[in-house]
C-alpha cells in the first residue's frame, strides 16, 4: 500500500504562484552571484595580505578585482574602438552561430540515424560499436585539424564559421544518436504489444509510442551536446585564425594578459554566458516539450 497521507489537492494556487516562483529563482541566482563575488574578493584579500603562494601567487594580474573585470566591459579594448562589451557581444554571437548550426545539424542527423538504427538490427550491429567507441576519441583534440581540413571544401559563404560548425555537429551527433536509439528502444514491451493489436504500422508505432518515450533520453543527450557544441566551437576557432569568435578573442587577450588581464577574464565570462544560455535554452525547450514527464509537473 502506498504511504498513508493522501493529501487533498491543494487549493489556493493563485495565478501569482508561478510568477512568484520564477521571481524567487531569479533572486536566488542574484544572491548566488553576489556570494561568489564576495568569496572571490575574500580569497583575494586573504591571500594577498598573507602573501601565500600556494596554489598560485595572487595579485592584480592573476586575480583582478571583480569590479575591474566588470568595468572592462564598458571600456574599449584598444584606442578608438567600440567597448569591449560590444566586441565580446559580437564575438559571442559569432561563436554561438557556429555552435547552434552545428548543434542543430548534429541533432537532426543523430535523431534520424537513431530512428533508422532502431528498425534494423543489422545496421545496429554494424555501426553501434563504432559510435560507442568514438566517444572515447578525444574529438576536441582533433578539432583544430578538422577545421583546417574542412574549410577549403566548403562553399565560400560557409567558409570560416562553417568548418567550426562541423565540429559542433560532430560532438552533438554521437550522444544524440546513442540516446535516441536507447530511448526508442525503451518503449514498454506491453505498449508495443498493444499497438500490434491495433495493427498499427511501423510509422504509427514510431511516432505515437517510441518517439514520445524517447524524449527524456534525447533531451539528456541534447543537454550534454549543447555544452559540448559551445566548447567545440571555441576550440575549433583556435588554429584557423578565425578572429571573429570567442576562441580568437581568447587567444588574442591571452597574449596581452600581463598588461590587461581583465580582458581575458571578461572574455571567459562571455564564454560562460554563451554556454549557460545554450544549456538553458535546451532545458526550457525540454520543459515545454516533455510536459507530461513526472519531473516537469509543477
Amino acid at each position: 500500500m502506498t504511504q498513508v497521507a493522501i493529501a487533498s489537492p491543494s487549493r489556493g494556487r493563485s495565478f501569482g504562484a508561478p510568477a512568484a516562483r520564477a521571481l524567487g529563482r531569479v533572486a536566488a541566482v542574484v544572491v548566488l552571484l553576489l556570494v561568489l563575488v564576495a568569496l572571490w574578493e575574500l580569497y583575494r584579500w586573504v591571500w594577498t595580505s598573507r602573501g601565500w603562494t600556494w596554489p598560485f601567487l595572487v595579485n592584480d594580474t592573476s586575480m583582478p578585482h571583480v569590479w575591474t573585470i566588470l568595468k572592462a566591459f564598458g571600456e574599449p579594448a584598444q584606442a578608438n574602438q567600440p567597448s569591449l562589451g560590444s566586441i565580446l557581444f559580437h564575438k559571442s554571437l559569432f561563436t554561438a552561430k557556429e555552435a547552434a548550426a552545428g548543434f542543430a545539424l548534429g541533432a537532426v542527423v543523430g535523431f534520424a540515424l537513431g530512428i533508422v538504427l532502431v528498425h534494423s538490427r543489422f545496421l545496429q550491429r554494424g555501426f553501434l560499436p563504432y559510435i560507442v567507441a568514438s566517444q572515447t576519441i578525444p574529438i576536441l583534440a582533433i578539432a583544430p585539424m578538422v577545421v583546417i581540413w574542412v574549410n577549403p571544401k566548403l562553399p565560400a559563404s560557409l567558409q570560416g564559421w562553417g568548418s567550426v560548425a562541423v565540429i559542433a555537429a560532430y560532438l552533438t551527433f554521437f550522444p544524440v544518436t546513442i540516446n535516441t536509439l536507447r530511448g526508442l528502444q525503451s518503449a514498454d514491451p506491453r505498449a508495443l504489444d498493444l499497438m500490434r493489436t491495433y495493427a498499427a504500422s511501423r510509422w504509427t508505432v514510431l511516432w505515437k509510442l517510441r518517439v514520445p518515450t524517447s524524449l527524456p533520453y534525447v533531451f539528456a543527450a541534447l543537454k550534454i551536446a549543447a555544452t559540448a557544441s559551445v566548447v567545440g566551437a571555441i576550440i575549433g576557432e583556435l588554429p584557423s585564425g578565425l578572429q571573429s569568435g570567442l576562441g580568437g578573442a581568447i587567444l588574442n587577450f591571452n597574449q596581452y594578459y600581463s598588461f590587461e588581464p581583465q580582458e581575458l577574464w571578461a572574455t571567459n565570462i562571455a564564454a560562460a554566458g554563451v554556454g549557460i544560455l545554450f544549456f538553458g535554452a535546451v532545458v526550457v525547450t525540454e520543459r515545454l516539450v516533455v510536459r507530461r514527464a513526472p519531473e516537469n509537473v509543477a
Binding site: 536566488a28 548566488l32 596554489p55 598560485f56 601567487l57 594580474t61 592573476s62 543489422f122 545496421l123 550491429r125 554494424g126 555501426f127 553501434l128 560499436p129 563504432y130 566517444q135 572515447t136 576519441i137 578525444p138 574529438i139 576536441l140 583534440a141 582533433i142 583544430p144 585539424m145 583546417i148 581540413w149 549543447a226 555544452t227 559551445v230 566548447v231 571555441i234 576550440i235 583556435l238 588554429p239 570567442l246 581568447i250 591571452n254 594578459y257 588581464p261 581575458l264 577574464w265 572574455t267 571567459n268 564564454a271 560562460a272 554563451v274 554556454g275 549557460i276 545554450f278 544549456f279 538553458g280
Partner: protein
C-alpha cells in the same frame, strides 16, 4: 543457432563496416586525389605511429600523468564535497542546479588563465583543467547517489535505532557506489581530453598536445593523427581501468550483474 554462429552474427557486421570504411577511406584518397598531407591514409598513420613511437609514447606518458593527476584530484575533491554537502539536505538541493549550470561553462576557456597561475610549462596547469573538468560530474553524481537510498531502507534502519553515521555507512555509501562509478567513467574520458586540449594553449615540449599541435602546424599530419591515436588509446586505457574496478567493487548493480 549455435553460440559461435551467434557471436559471428553479432560481430560480422561491425567487422564488415570497419573493412569497408578503410577501403573507402583509402580509395577516396586515391580517387579524389585528396591531398595526402591533409587527410593521410590509414596505413600511413599506422606506420607513422610505429616509426615515431619513441617520441609519441613518452609524450603520451607525460600527458597521461597530467590527466591522471587531474582525474584523481578532481574526483576525490568532488566526492569529498558531495559527502559534506550531503549531510545538509538543504545545501544539497540548493547546490544541484548551480552545479548543473556550472557544468555548462566551457571550462577549457580557462586554460590560458590556468597557464598564468601555474607556469605554462608545468604539468600543474593541465592537471588543474582536468581536475576542474572531473570535479563537477563526480560531485553531482556522488551527491545524487548518496540521496538515492529509498525511504523504506531508511525506515528499516531507523527501526533498528541506527545512528545517522551507521545509516550513512551501511546504506547511503553502498547505494551511491554505482553512481560514483558512472561519473568516474565520464571523468576518465574528460581528464585525457582536458590535458591534451589544455596543452594546445601551452605546455612542456615533450607533451602530447604540444606535439600534435606543432606537427599539425608544419603539416606533418600523419604524425599528428598518430598522436591523436596515442591519446585515444590512453583515454581508453583509463576508462577501462575504471570499468574493471567497477565490476569488482560494484558487483550487485544491475549493470554489472552476470544476469
Amino acid at each position: 543457432m549455435s553460440a559461435y554462429a551467434r557471436q559471428a552474427r553479432d560481430w560480422v557486421p561491425a567487422a564488415a563496416v570497419f573493412v569497408l570504411a578503410i577501403v573507402v577511406w583509402d580509395g577516396s584518397i586515391a580517387a579524389f586525389h585528396i591531398q595526402q598531407f591533409l587527410l593521410p591514409k590509414p596505413t600511413s598513420i599506422v606506420s607513422s605511429f610505429w616509426n615515431e613511437r619513441h617520441t609519441l609514447w613518452p609524450a603520451g606518458w607525460t600527458t597521461f600523468q597530467e590527466a591522471l593527476g587531474g582525474f584523481v584530484g578532481g574526483s576525490l575533491f568532488g566526492m569529498f564535497v558531495a559527502t559534506v554537502v550531503g549531510r545538509f539536505k538543504i545545501v544539497g538541493t540548493a547546490l544541484m542546479p548551480i552545479a548543473i549550470a556550472a557544468n555548462a561553462i566551457p571550462i577549457i576557456a580557462f586554460a590560458p588563465i590556468f597557464n598564468v597561475w601555474f607556469n605554462p610549462l608545468s604539468p600543474h596547469s593541465k592537471m588543474a583543467i582536468s581536475g576542474v573538468l572531473c570535479f563537477l560530474p563526480v560531485m553531482v553524481n556522488t551527491l545524487r547517489g548518496l540521496q538515492s537510498a529509498s525511504p523504506r531502507q531508511i525506515e528499516l534502519m531507523r527501526s533498528y535505532a541506527a545512528s545517522d553515521l551507521e545509516i550513512w555507512r551501511r546504506v547511503r555509501v553502498p547505494t551511491a557506489l554505482p553512481f560514483v562509478f558512472t561519473s568516474l567513467k565520464v571523468a576518465s574520458v574528460l581528464a585525457m581530453i582536458g590535458a591534451v586540449v589544455g596543452e594546445y594553449f601551452g605546455g612542456s615540449f615533450n607533451a602530447l598536445g604540444v606535439l600534435i599541435r606543432s606537427k599539425a602546424q608544419v603539416f606533418q599530419f600523419e604524425t599528428a593523427w598518430a598522436g591523436i591515436l596515442v591519446a585515444s588509446l590512453l583515454g581508453i586505457a583509463l576508462y577501462a581501468a575504471v570499468a574493471v574496478t567497477e565490476r569488482f567493487v560494484v558487483r550487485w548493480a544491475p549493470e554489472t550483474r552476470d544476469s
